[in-house]
C-alpha cells in the first residue's frame, strides 16, 4: 500500500530538518496520525538523514602544486602565455559599455553622420534634379566624361559633360525641356544642346547654373542645326547654382 499525498510526502524531509512552517507541520502531523505508510517512510528518512549527516568530507592528497602545474601544462600554450590574456581595455570596456552609454554613443554617431552628409551633399551627390529617382539604378561611372569642345571626337554612346546652362526652353505640348550647355559663362564658344524628354521627368536646370549632364550623345544633322546633343538627358548634377 502506498500514500498518494505526494505533496505531503515531499514535506517529510523538511519536517525532519525542522525547516517546515508551523502551518505545514500541523497539517503533516495530522496526516501522520492517520497514515501508517508515511509514518514508516518518515522513520526511514529520519535514519537516512542522520546517517547522511555523518558523511565525512573526503580529503585529497597534498600534492596541489604539482597537480596544478600538471593541469597548467595540459593547457599547453595557454599556460605559457597565461591563458587568453585579456587586454587592459577589456576591463574599461566592460565597466563603461553599458546599454545607456552605448545608446548615447549610437545617437551621437548617427547625428554626426547625418550632419556630415547634409553639409557635403553637393560634393557627395551634386544637387540632383530628381533624375536619379526616375533613372533607377543608373551607374554614373559608366558615362564617358569629356569637355564640350571634345564632343566632336567622341565615339562613346553615353557621356557626361559639364558647362553653364543657357537658353532653357520648355515645350509643354511635347513634354520636353531643351537647353544649351556652354563652356564659358559668356555663352561664347562651343556648346551642346541637351534635351530632357518624356518619360524621363526632371526639373529644368536654372539658367546660368553650372551643371554636369549625363545622357546619350548624338549629332543632329538636320539642315540648320548640325550640332551635338545630349539627348535624352538621363541625369543632371548641379555643381554651382
Amino acid at each position: 500500500m502506498s500514500c498518494w499525498h505526494f505533496s505531503l510526502r515531499r514535506k517529510l524531509l523538511p519536517y525532519i530538518e525542522g525547516e517546515l512552517r508551523e502551518k505545514d507541520v500541523r497539517q503533516l502531523e495530522r496526516h501522520l496520525l492517520d497514515c501508517g505508510w508515511c509514518r514508516e517512510l518518515l522513520l526511514h528518512l529520519r535514519d537516512g538523514h542522520h546517517m547522511a549527516q555523518r558523511l565525512p568530507r573526503q580529503a585529497m592528497g597534498n600534492d596541489h602544486p604539482s597537480e596544478f602545474r600538471a593541469m597548467m601544462a595540459d593547457a599547453g600554450e595557454e599556460a605559457r602565455s597565461p591563458w587568453r590574456r585579456v587586454p587592459a581595455w577589456h576591463d574599461w570596456l566592460e565597466r563603461f559599455a553599458t546599454p545607456p552609454v552605448l545608446g548615447l554613443l549610437a545617437v551621437v554617431l548617427v547625428a554626426q553622420c547625418a550632419l556630415l552628409v547634409v553639409s557635403n551633399r553637393d560634393v557627395l551627390f551634386g544637387q540632383r534634379s530628381g533624375a536619379a529617382a526616375t533613372t533607377g539604378a543608373l551607374d554614373l561611372h559608366d558615362f564617358h566624361r569629356l569637355d564640350i569642345a571634345n564632343l566632336k571626337f567622341n565615339t562613346e554612346p553615353r557621356i557626361a559633360t559639364q558647362g553653364y546652362v543657357t537658353d532653357v526652353h520648355t515645350d509643354a505640348e511635347e513634354g520636353t525641356v531643351a537647353f544649351k550647355l556652354v563652356e564659358s559663362s559668356n555663352a561664347a564658344g562651343p556648346f551642346v544642346v541637351c534635351e530632357i524628354m518624356s518619360p524621363i521627368k526632371m526639373a529644368a536646370p536654372r539658367d546660368g547654373s553650372y551643371v554636369r549632364v549625363y545622357g546619350v550623345s548624338r549629332f543632329d544633322a538636320q539642315a540648320g542645326r548640325k550640332w551635338y546633343e545630349v539627348n535624352p538627358v538621363l541625369d543632371i548634377a548641379v555643381l554651382k547654382r
Binding site: 555523518r54 558523511l55 565525512p56 573526503q58 580529503a59 595557454e78 591563458w83
Partner: protein
C-alpha cells in the same frame, strides 16, 4: 583514503567580493589569482567527484579535467550565476559523462563490505579506527547510489548547499531536489540497515 569531518577548511573560504576580485584578476591573466580560486574550490569539487566516481585515480584525473574547463571557460564567466554554481555545474556534467560511459551494474554493498555477520561489530579499542571504518561504510553506501541520487546527498550533506542552490547546479526545481533527496535517503537507509548497530 584520508578523511576529515566537519565543514570545509575555513582558510580556503573566500568571501564573495574577494572571489569576484580574484575572478577578474584571473580573467586578466593573473595565474596566482586562478591558483587561489583553484585551491579554494578544489576540496569542494573533490568531494562531489570522489563520491560520484569512487576510484581515487580517476577522481584525480577528472578533477584536473574539471579545473582545466574552469580555467578555459573563466574568461567568459560574466557573474550571471555564482562562481560556485558554475563550477559545480561543470563538475556535475563531467561526472555525468563518466557515469554514462560506465553504465555500471549495481553491486550490493554487502558484497563489498561483507554482511553484518562477517564484519566485526564489537567495540574496537581504537576509537579512531572505528570511526574510519564507519566513514568508509557510509561513503561506500553513498557511492553505491545512482549518480543522480548520490550527488544530491553530497551537495546537501557534505557541501551544505540549500535546495535552491542544488536546484541551480542541477537545473531543476527545489521540489525535485527534495523528492530526489528523499529517495536517496530512503535507499541509503535501506543499504545501511544491516550495519545499523555498528554505525
Amino acid at each position: 583514503m584520508i578523511h576529515q569531518s566537519g565543514p570545509a577548511n575555513k582558510k580556503q573560504a573566500i568571501d564573495c567580493e574577494q572571489e569576484r576580485q580574484l575572478v577578474m584578476a584571473a580573467q586578466r591573466g593573473d595565474p596566482e589569482a586562478f591558483r587561489e580560486l583553484h585551491d579554494a574550490y578544489r576540496p569542494r569539487i573533490y568531494n562531489l567527484v570522489a563520491y560520484s566516481i569512487g576510484d581515487p585515480l580517476q577522481t584525480q584525473d577528472l578533477l584536473q579535467t574539471i579545473f582545466l574547463k574552469v580555467f578555459r571557460g573563466l574568461h567568459g564567466f560574466r557573474f550571471q550565476s555564482s562562481l560556485s554554481t558554475w563550477i559545480y555545474r561543470i563538475a556535475h556534467n563531467e561526472c555525468q559523462n563518466v557515469h554514462r560511459s560506465r553504465r555500471a551494474s549495481h553491486v550490493p554493498l554487502e558484497a563489498i563490505l561483507g554482511s553484518s555477520d562477517e564484519i566485526d561489530t564489537k567495540p574496537i579499542s581504537h576509537d579512531q579506527h572505528a570511526r574510519q571504518e564507519r566513514e568508509i561504510i557510509l561513503q561506500q553506501a553513498v557511492m553505491q547510489l545512482s549518480f543522480k541520487l548520490s550527488e544530491v546527498v553530497v551537495l546537501k550533506y557534505v557541501e551544505g548547499l540549500s535546495y535552491e542552490e542544488i536546484g541551480r547546479v542541477l537545473r531543476c526545481a527545489p521540489g525535485t531536489v527534495a523528492s530526489r533527496l528523499s529517495r536517496a535517503l530512503t535507499e541509503l537507509e535501506e543499504r545501511l540497515r544491516p550495519f545499523r548497530s555498528f554505525l
